[in-house]
């Protein structure tokens, strides 16, 4: 993991997934666009898959975060327990800051 890379978010930060459409390949699923979650962990830095997809080097590498969402906020009429969560790896350029903070990302 490249620790020299500047990170915008820390575990516990409340973030919003960008609501934009993607041009070409990207790894942010549609059902998360515009949704709010909490950073649970920093996974490292990786070459940008959106550029690797077109045979480019994918540099500079981008930070990948594990973001935790409440299932009940993702799906209408979610029938499972209210505590159900979903963790998804999302690259930094798909995340927007909010003013929120949550202890330990819980």
């Amino acid at each position: 993991m490249d620790t020299s890379h500047a990170r915008s978010f820390m575990p516990g930060d409340v973030v919003r997934v960008a609501g934009r459409a993607s041009l070409g390949h990207c790894r942010t699923p549609w059902y998360l666009r515009g949704k709010t979650g909490v950073v649970a962990a920093i996974q490292g830095t990786f070459r940008n898959p959106e550029m690797l997809a077109y045979h480019k080097p994918g540099l500079p590498a981008v930070v990948l975060y594990k973001v935790r969402f409440k299932q009940s906020e993702l799906w209408e009429r979610y029938a499972g327990p209210a505590c159900d969560q979903l963790e998804v790896d999302i690259f930094e350029h798909w995340l927007e800051p909010t003013k929120g903070r949550m202890a330990n990302g819980e």
Binding site: H25, W30, L52, A53, Y54, H55
Partner: protein, 129 residues
């Protein structure tokens, strides 16, 4: 590869999604059964691994994904997992100047003719580029 069945799924409420990005849409239940792999499917898997290794670097997981995600909806819905893979491998070989389209088509015609002569049943289906 068998001729794809005409089965285009309605993507109600799909908005601006890419064709593969269907998480959360009502597209029916998922087939969770294990399926035996045909020899050509195993070969397709092996070919992908070889083409993306450090020696060759013809493709990456991401360029392979991108090629599959660029299929039209009908081609996407009517092809199986490894059919999507082999079509993408073929197209990336041309995109990366490893083989030409003419070379691939000539070889396919040669194999088809050989199988026909040998009395083997062959599919008339063609996979669009």
């Amino acid at each position: 590869m068998p001729e794809p069945k005409r089965k285009t799924l309605k993507r109600k409420g799909a908005g601006g999604r890419a064709v593969h990005d269907v998480g959360g849409l009502a597209l029916g239940s998922i087939d969770r059964e294990e399926h035996d792999l045909a020899l050509w499917e195993k070969r397709t898997d092996a070919m992908l691994i070889l083409l993306r290794d450090n020696k060759r670097r013809v493709l990456s997981v991401d360029s392979h994904r991108r090629t599959i995600e660029d299929y039209g909806q009908q081609a996407y819905d009517s092809t199986t997992y490894y059919e999507k893979w082999i079509r993408a491998i073929r197209n990336l070989l041309v995109e990366q100047n490893v083989l030409t389209r003419g070379e691939i088509e000539a070889r396919m015609a040669e194999i088809r003719a050989r199988h026909e002569t040998g009395g083997r049943k062959i599919s008339r289906g063609k996979i669009p580029w």
